[in-house]
Symmetry: C2
Subunit: 453 residues, 2 copies
């Protein structure tokens, strides 16, 4: 009953480089296009939004990108994060599989998001930027950037999807405690917001709209840049500290994963764990099955189209080729707010096309059931997003049991659920339903995708 | 801006013994008395409530009590907890003092409470106990025992103060997710609860009433024992893993505290940090100033009487000599629910009488201001209880600044505030008031104290 197996690294093992999978891919991903000219964007096109150091990372093909010492200094607060063997869960499942999980809930914001928030705040600070705008759904990203902004003395302004702003005041309170400003989106502070409000003054908002607002403000103010919490190459790259540490920790355990499982919204948490393992495989290392778990109500990888699309609803961003449900698609309001995005990171999408990963979609009730089983055996209460990975790992372990195989499964427990108790209450009260998107709306959103270049 | 200084121990440094300060005290604390006979209680009097192993610890005078291997196994999940130097806070305060803090928010329940919950669940399991009853205020203790119960397969039933049950549903949801049952107190399930409800069917409840209910059920059911989250000797002893680790970590840092600061409700968090240092001093080690910080609205150490009193409102518990505001005293409803107890642990009270510690009381607004400053510099958002220790440490650091002294300050950051965001929202909205207890009520409660033996 009581086995705890934890693999701990000291701070000298915090990675010194982020891993950039671009260096190892057999083919480069399709270029990012300017929405007007349909030509590949250059650094100057992105300069209004990001400091040049991050733009350089966005297009870099170097395998290793040095982590600046001040970023590693802050990482020390919670990194290296622990890797656990889920012995009690294994016993409950009576599986011959070994289940490992990397736990990112130990960060001050309670999730993996500070890994990139700190890096982005650092490069903006270096570039003399005073303010950063961003968007947030459930609030994990917004609170992480607020944390990083507080440490570097940068003003953070967060557009939070209005329905979440009203329903989930506690992540907002966390942002404000860190000193950030949080406003409900759509807002009357931007042209994008006003346009939406003109059509529907009670619009509940969406991540796509909130991105438009944050991007618009950054693009029109010289002292202000924009930060995104997922999707972009440099964000995924920053998260690779997770997978790099896991590689070392599994080496301590004398194991190597047969199966990797991560949940996918925009793709950064998933890529952070998976890319260092996929990269090792691409360089001739052991093959590993990589499983992306997404919500059945927002299934970009399993039901989306691989096409050029906008990252936002207001169509202010460049066009990126990705698995997308269409930028006009509004996912239903299920509880894993961090997974409610119409698209998927271009690099993750590209890996899917290259056959380097597979995807599976689950409904939320089965994910909460998995999360509760995990809490009662392993003792850690996962965030609703992380429950998708827990469910995926449990299903792999049960497959191993059926097949009599003692495989090694590794998943990323990307955050704790202490801010998400309402979702658990709804689950226990039988109020959770497995929402489905509107098939007609999805068909229309997919049909509306811009033609590929 | 970016200095993080963290002292990490590997799991071989999880203490192998709990430290029992009874062995080093110059005089033993006054005995616990039977409320009927006024004679010292024996093990048999306590046997209906606790397994014999815990009763033995309650009266032990051995310096070291071995931590069973299965308990250390579970401790591994989050122990040793990190010790940080608060460099960024020091800079913000421009103090010559060094501020260290031990962070207990890394446990699965987010506070120090699992240190004793796991131990108590273990000994009950060993004794063949199937069910444990307990009470909880804000819910930190209840959720920690629920966590421990899940790991050991023991049924946990928690009486939660009704006003908290209604106002703070999220800690309740955490208990239920771990599989525990949580019912509002006063309840109609007990004689104690019924008696209160008969006088006032809308009674908001109190910790003292909830204790009566939980004790009553344990005392009247053979398969059921009772667990308390603070106050008792064995609970304080279990928490000494905190201070023992801190001693080692400060040795790594090459420092020794001049001043120790902890917040006090029932006293276990405070004692957990302080007793190993006080013990070292009693055995001839360096003298350290020990400061207990309590809420001004429930000031047992600074305004209470050192007298024999009941631990509960229903007067079902034995009589213990402690600093108490009187068992009929109802503290106002401030946000640090974990500090809303009329008494103080007998061992902490005894140390106060021996001159081994001093006490100070703060109002909640100044504590929240300190917590916000801490969050914005150190990045971790403290629980409202922990904000009292933060405020105490900041004031000591400012004193050092005024006096030009470079002293070493150590405090215990006993939990994160992720479940307490409503309190921060109220603080920012200007809704928090510095509540005072009713002077007449306090006078009456103190006058009602039973005569000492």
């Amino acid at each position: 009953m009581t086995d705890t197996v934890k693999y701990v690294l000291d701070e000298t093992h915090i990675p010194k480089h982020w891993y950039n999978i671009m260096a190892d891919l057999p083919a480069p991903p399709p270029p990012v296009l300017h929405p007007g000219t349909k030509q590949p964007v250059g650094p100057d096109d992105l300069a209004p939004l990001f400091p040049m150091a991050l733009i350089a990372q966005e297009v870099s093909t170097e395998r290793e990108i040095e982590i600046p010492e001040p970023v590693r200094e802050i990482y020390k607060q919670w990194r290296p994060s622990p890797l656990f063997r889920a012995r009690r869960l294994e016993k409950a499942l009576q599986t011959p599989a070994k289940i490992y999980y990397k736990y990112e809930g130990v960060s001050p914001a309670g999730s993996h998001k500070p890994n990139t928030a700190v890096a982005q705040a650092f490069y903006n600070k270096e570039a003399g930027i005073k303010k950063i705008t961003t968007e947030t759904g459930a609030g994990q990203w917004g609170s992480s950037l607020a944390f990083a902004g507080a440490l570097f003395g940068i003003e953070i302004k967060v557009w939070m999807v209005r329905v979440s702003y009203n329903q989930k005041p506690y992540r907002r309170a966390l942002m404000e405690t860190y000193g950030a400003t949080c406003i409900p989106s759509p807002s009357s502070e931007t042209q994008s917001g006003k346009a939406v409000l003109a059509q529907n003054k009670d619009h509940p908002g969406s991540l796509g709209i909130a991105i438009s607002e944050a991007v618009e403000v950054a693009a029109t103010h010289d002292d202000t840049k924009y930060a995104l919490g997922s999707v972009l190459n440099h964000v995924l790259t920053h998260q690779t500290v997770v997978g790099q540490e896991a590689l070392l920790q599994l080496e301590m355990a004398g194991d190597y994963p047969d199966v990797l499982v991560g949940c996918t919204g925009g793709g950064s948490n998933f890529a952070g764990l998976a890319f260092p393992f996929i990269g090792a495989q691409l360089r001739g290392g052991k093959k590993v099955r990589v499983v992306a778990v997404e919500p059945a109500a927002c299934p970009s990888l399993t039901r989306g189209k691989y096409a050029y699309d906008f990252g936002d609803t207001g169509h202010l961003t460049p066009l990126v080729k990705m698995h997308t449900l269409g930028s006009t698609f509004t996912p239903p309001g299920f509880h894993a707010g961090g997974l409610r995005y119409h698209g998927m990171a271009p690099l993750v999408s590209h890996c899917k096309e290259l056959g380097l990963l597979e995807a599976v979609a689950y409904h939320q009730k089965e994910c909460f059931a998995a999360g509760v089983q995990f809490a009662r055996t392993e003792g850690i209460l996962p965030a609703p997003e992380a429950n998708h990975a827990v469910k995926g790992a449990i299903d792999e372990a049960l497959r191993c049991k059926k097949e009599g195989k003692s495989q090694v499964i590794l998943f990323n427990l990307c955050g704790h659920g202490h801010f998400d108790m309402q979702a658990y209450m709804d689950y226990f009260a039988g109020k959770l339903v497995d929402q489905n998107y509107d098939e007609a709306e999805l068909a229309m959103a997919l049909a509306g995708l811009p033609a590929a270049a």
